[in-house]
Symmetry: D2
């Protein structure tokens, strides 16, 4: 399952090297996975309103080329497989010249908002992913 | 009542002009007023744990000179008068050469965390301010 | 001259109160004025590439209501009058329920990138603003 | 070679989950490695003023426990071995209860500011690291 999101680089996201600060890609990844879920009819906000949190438990990024101010980036987000307790996303960031900016991975875990303990992905979440998958396959 | 806080400019806080991004001073002001309160024996965290929030309802800044990467800034924070429902702070930011970087003001309002309605400053908060004041005067 | 920009609130922009952190509106304002200029055929990036910087010299914000995670904000940006050395923008931020979130103002100054001294707005900048104005009026 | 830096969590760095936003640790790591270098008599600013940039080419983080508002974090930074073209740092973040918050790694590359091509670490940089090492050993 793959989804594309476009993000325009803000001035505030550049640093004095003239590049997007290396830490800000975590925010871009967050926007990318949120928009991927929204495209499947799932909003992360609804998930939280239903008492489920999705904190990130690991992230890695390999930086290939700098992004600069006003670049219109495309983030290609891939959901590897169906989530159980954890959910994994891979991100590839490209600029408007189709140059690869970086590649990243995040793993998130479903957590009960009250107990703050891990739990299974909610059934409607899994159903939405599966329905989408079958739509694509048909 | 005046308090001084030192903040080192982080690389992430610069922009491609080489200056501290103009929006980041709001964070510096937040650190400055938090440390002023801490110096009076009041922690903003305790206030929130006691069910009181302090959102900002107005801010203004006049930018005089840019701050740059690795500057060691001094923020001189002034609490204008005893708070009732609102509390006002003034900030003067200087760099290590004692150049004035900017001057800002913020007004915050005491809010009940449950009802999200304005309320009076808690008595222990006012007492701490007054005790500190009288200590200074004596 | 009025322009509207839409911005989706990112998770990273919320704080533990559940609100958009008060300092982040400076970034939203930056996006709003950049997109206003782009709609007139002017890119702020081109301006910098031509050797002209536009640092902010004053900002003020009155916060009316909190914005929360995933809100789709509309920022109504107004350019008060033709710029000479300074340029002034006013911003009104609304959420998707058309509630007023806040009102802000920024003043920016045209600066020569080499000398870092104030200078007049470049002629093509003023022309673009005027051409746009007359198009609207006709 | 190990160095410890303390960082107080700012309100702006929390998110609506009440945790430090997962992307902000990149900033903490930057502060930690900068202060480690400063303790060796090396400032990253001086390095840039000498025409050398140090962009990050990879980062990974494993998140173990959340940090929350007002936590006083200790970042233990380890410089693995002498840099040649790349320099690697490992970070362990602890809160004031000595709970492990996360573990991260970054690799940075020495780059010529003009050509933006990789280059060797400058000799005075390597000398400072070595002198410090021998001082510790003696």
């Amino acid at each position: 399952m793959v989804h594309e999101t476009k993000i325009r680089v803000r001035y505030s996201e550049t640093d004095r090297m003239g590049y997007v600060y290396y830490g800000h890609y975590a925010q871009y990844f967050e926007v990318a996975r949120t928009e991927m879920l929204r495209s499947l009819g799932l909003t992360y906000k609804q998930l939280e309103d239903d008492g489920i949190l999705l904190p990130v438990i690991s992230m890695d990024i390999k930086y290939k080329n700098p992004a600069i101010y006003d670049d219109l980036l495309t983030i290609k987000t891939t959901l590897k497989k169906n989530p159980l307790i954890k959910i994994q996303f891979t991100y590839e960031v490209f600029n408007q010249k189709n140059e690869l900016i970086n590649i990243g991975n995040t793993t998130l875990v479903f957590v009960d908002a009250k107990t703050r303990k891990p739990r299974k992905a909610p059934q409607n979440f899994i159903d939405s992913l599966n329905n989408n998958g079958s739509t694509v396959e048909t």
